[in-house]
């Protein structure tokens, strides 16, 4: 039974059941061209960096002892540091980009790109050490000492390198697994410091920068702008929203075994622009939880002054959420996510939820128009695990759609079942949400059945 503050019989686009409650602003419409422009700019910058390294070389330098090694060292330094800049931008949460690509995809790209800048920067240090040692005809160890002693800014650059390597090591999967999430996160944040420390040696010693004031200026502006974006969008905006909306927990409402809804009250929620399907990073300011931020989708559009999220109790943290006391303050980051109605290419949809993935589907439904003819597939291993099922059913009924509950170990979302339940699958946009393994399997199935890639949208729930 739904909580007293949330009523699913709400028709956002008119109809008999329209309620008078003020809904919060819809999110700004994402413009896909922003992602295209950002990608092109990133490529342009990379090519320019490589060209900077190449045009700073002369044949004479290459022919000198250690010349080729020095060139490769310069090239890897420029390319690696540029890619590090891209890494920072990928997780800077700039709204224009984030609402098109989605925080989860941006994080995935960040993780995938990571080996490149770190390898290039380590190679840069190693190659230049060998190159200078060869040119000066000294030993490698002596050369390292010479770097740190007599070149400006090399001490801070070496410290930066050590920090970067430490971060890279802790992020290797087998090691990261053994660390507590908070420990890994605290180490990772030092990357901002490492990049700042390394900056001065780039400008002071890089052949492309020394004696080239314009190049120096562009590089400095690039880094200053990135720092600005991070300060504003990664730290400033979340802080601003937290202080402005002053969320606190008012009710914990059980939705089923191990699943609870957390209802929060806040100020000015009519000014919080959220689209159905989006999520926040939640930081409950109570003992034992305040240092962690976890992503949870809203399980309904805001009903000012109330917000709702629904959490399944897997792991210590989620179980602790169930024990939250009313009055606990909440800090938020977001809203994030591209799993919204704006991502649609067609008017008709299929919504597939695995387990707790139903929360995003439930709030997404509120944003979908009446002509979307929704087919909703809810997958759970047992009937009681179908949280929010009645709310989903109500919303779907209002849109003249159908709900299919696939419960039990024999009812997987398989190819044959899917084409049976949704004969016109290829003409619909497909939204899939749930645990990683579930999402991967279903997305693969859906693509195999001929749905174009642009029409498949997914959100992965990971611990």
């Amino acid at each position: 039974m739904a909580s007293l503050t949330f009523d699913p019989a709400y028709a956002p686009h008119g109809g008999r059941h329209r309620r008078q409650s003020v809904i919060s602003r819809p999110g700004a419409v994402p413009r896909p061209v922003v992602a295209e422009v950002a990608t092109i700019l990133a490529g342009l910058g990379f090519g320019a960096c490589v060209a900077l390294a190449v045009t700073a070389e002369s044949w004479k330098q290459l022919a000198a002892p250690g010349g080729v090694t020095m060139f490769l060292g310069n090239l890897s330094g420029l390319a690696g540091t540029y890619l590090a800049l891209i890494m920072v931008l990928l997780v800077s949460r700039v709204p224009m980009v984030e609402r098109v690509l989605g925080q989860d995809k941006l994080l995935a790209s960040h993780r995938r790109l990571a080996p490149w800048p770190i390898s290039l920067i380590v190679a840069h240090a190693v190659l230049l050490t060998f190159a200078y040692a060869e040119a000066a005809r000294t030993g490698v160890w002596y050369q390292i000492g010479a770097f740190i002693r007599s070149y400006p800014n090399m001490l801070t650059a070496t410290v930066a390198l050590v920090v970067m390597v430490a971060i890279a090591v802790t992020s290797v999967y087998s090691i990261r697994r053994r660390l507590r999430r908070e420990t890994w996160w605290a180490v990772h944040l030092f990357m901002y410091l490492a990049l700042a420390l390394a900056f001065t040696h780039e400008i002071a010693l890089g052949p492309s920068f020394v004696g080239h004031p314009l190049t120096r200026l562009v590089w400095s502006v690039l880094w200053a702008s990135t720092a600005g974006l991070v300060l504003v969008y990664r730290f400033g905006l979340p802080l601003f929203r937290t202080l402005r909306h002053r969320l606190e927990v008012v009710e914990i409402h059980p939705e089923g075994p191990g699943t609870v809804s957390v209802i929060c009250r806040g100020k000015h929620l009519d000014r919080l622009a959220v689209a159905g399907g989006q999520f926040f990073e939640w930081r409950f300011l109570t003992k034992g939880m305040w240092w962690q931020a976890h992503p949870f989708s809203l399980s309904a559009l805001p009903r000012p002054p109330f917000l709702r999220l629904t959490v399944k109790g897997i792991g210590d943290y989620s179980s602790a959420v169930a024990r939250l006391r009313p009055g606990t303050r909440v800090a938020i980051e977001g809203p994030y996510g591209a799993f919204t109605t704006h991502a649609r290419r067609r008017s008709k949809v299929v919504l597939i939820a695995g387990g707790i993935g139903v929360t995003a589907i439930r709030s997404l439904l509120e944003d979908l128009p009446r002509d979307c003819d929704p087919v909703v597939i809810l997958r759970a291993s047992s009937a009681e695990e179908l949280a929010l099922a009645s709310e989903v059913a109500e919303l779907v009924r209002h849109r003249k759609g159908r709900v299919h509950e696939l419960v039990g170990s024999r009812s997987e979302v398989r190819t044959d079942r899917l084409s049976e339940l949704v004969p016109d699958l290829q003409n619909r946009d497909v939204y899939v949400s749930g645990p990683e393994e579930f999402v991967n399997r279903v997305v693969a199935t859906v693509l195999r059945l001929g749905v174009p890639k642009d029409s498949v949208h997914f959100e992965v729930y990971s611990l």
């Binding site: 090519g47 052949p207 020394v210």
Partner: protein, 151 residues
């Protein structure tokens, strides 16, 4: 990655753009073979000056080459020519960015001087480990020679 072709094309464009902007400045590996004409590598260069000393035939003439900014410092060379032969090369100006470059320059310049005197031109090999210094030295010598009308 779906946008990979766009990234590759954009990278190529960025590369080409920088190369285009750079051509006409100091020669790099992209502009052909090694330096044959002295071109100053930065805007902070002053022109060569001539100090004619003594009467014409058989007398020595001296010129100070362009101040070459080579990234780690600035140097200008003074060349003395007597009867068509380079008889003296000395440092007119040397300012370095930091201590290491200063020490290096001081060690290397005597060697470069000997190279110029034995080669009797600015086309020297240079000293490994001091590539930028050597190049700047050569350019400065060449510009002085141009002023003196030698080679």
């Amino acid at each position: 990655m779906r946008r990979a072709p766009a990234v590759v094309v954009a990278s190529a464009a960025g590369f080409a753009g920088i190369v285009a902007m750079h051509s006409g400045s100091s020669p790099s590996i992209l502009s052909g073979t090694g330096p044959s004409t002295p071109v100053s590598s930065s805007p902070a260069t002053t022109g060569p000056s001539t100090i004619p000393t003594g009467p014409r035939a058989g007398a020595a003439t001296t010129a100070i080459g362009t101040s070459e900014q080579y990234g780690y410092g600035v140097l200008a060379v003074k060349v003395t020519v007597r009867g068509g032969r380079i008889t003296e090369v000395s440092t007119a100006k040397l300012q370095t960015a930091e201590q290491y470059s200063q020490t290096l320059a001081q060690q290397v310049i005597p060697l470069l001087r000997n190279e110029v005197l034995s080669a009797q031109s600015a086309h020297i090999n240079g000293i490994s480990g001091a590539t930028y210094t050597s190049e700047a030295y050569a350019y400065s010598v060449q510009s002085a020679l141009d002023v003196l009308g030698v080679k």
